[in-house]
Symmetry: C3
Subunit: 138 residues, 3 copies
């Protein structure tokens, strides 16, 4: 049994879903692990992880609209020192995922046909985000 770890740095352009499937796959496939488990971990509280459909880009638009409306910037928050988009970002992070695990079968991620892995940026400004990858298997 072996382990490997890697930190992926993801540049975001402000609010929205950034697909990282290709970068994640490339790293996993380079580790020579045939059977195992990949865990992704997002080191932030205003960005998160999501596995979603990667076929129709309209799905991403509707997801972004939904999360915009469920935690609107116009709401009255106690925590507002870091800007109107900060507290909504924490709420959206709570509603989505900080960690995600995907099995590795025959050397490949067990993603379904339409599944892509996304970093979900919740702040207005572009950010540099860190996603830690942990792989265990043999």
């Amino acid at each position: 049994m072996r382990q490997a770890q890697h930190t992926l740095t993801v540049a975001t352009k402000g609010k929205g879903l950034v697909e990282i499937t290709r970068e994640v796959k490339r790293w996993v496939e380079g580790q020579g692990i045939s059977t195992g488990l990949l865990t992704l971990y997002c080191r932030h509280t205003s960005a998160s992880l999501l596995i979603q459909e990667n076929a129709d880009p309209d799905v991403r638009t509707d997801l972004e609209t939904f999360f915009e409306e469920i935690a609107p910037e116009t709401r009255d928050y106690v925590h507002d020192a870091e800007g109107p988009d900060d507290m909504p970002a924490h709420i959206r992070t709570a509603l989505t995922h900080t960690s995600l695990s995907v099995p590795v079968i025959s050397g490949a991620l067990a993603l379904g046909t339409w599944q892509g892995i996304y970093l979900f940026e919740h702040r207005r400004a572009p950010h540099s985000r860190e996603v830690v990858l942990h792989l265990i298997g043999e």
Copy 2:
């Protein structure tokens, strides 16, 4: 340290929570692992995983109503080519879980007294869903 993997196929009858605790337990207990970690992974973006109360079926009814109302089919979505229930299904998947992990202690899943494992079908039509089980331990 050993690993085992298995794909569970779950037949759904349209929207709703389908309990899979028994099938998952049966597979885990057949692997001869005493101490370890089970990870479940749902290979879909319109169905998800949830650990919830398995005592009163009313809890499932209320959960289904809640998720029906938070992402209603009547809402105006950009993505509507696959039917009015498709985009709500993606949103409900984002709000619940694509992967879940449960420790194995003394050969048994560490589920609490009232916890059951569910596949949450978000589409109207019956589907065949794949849940990958990954077990590591010894």
Copy 3:
């Protein structure tokens, strides 16, 4: 490769976020694992796990308000035999996390600068909650 497991008992004072970062860190650092993966598992359906900002306490206040409003006690639930706060507790659990994983790098949890680990109590009354910790690595 080694594993270690431990059950953390968390006393809550009713609804709210209880930080458990220190207790989790202390246990992890005592296991002598340099590279690995920690998984936390909450054995309840009316309490859950969350990784959130641990700097400004106002963030916790706003999160608690958000979850209070998204699943209000005043709503009409079918399941109400266990009190008006029970069904909202199940919904809040579904929207947050029952399991969470955090990589261990150089003997320390890979938490970001502002990240803390919280148990989220969703019932009005104080409870004793169990969080199972599973660590694998070497």
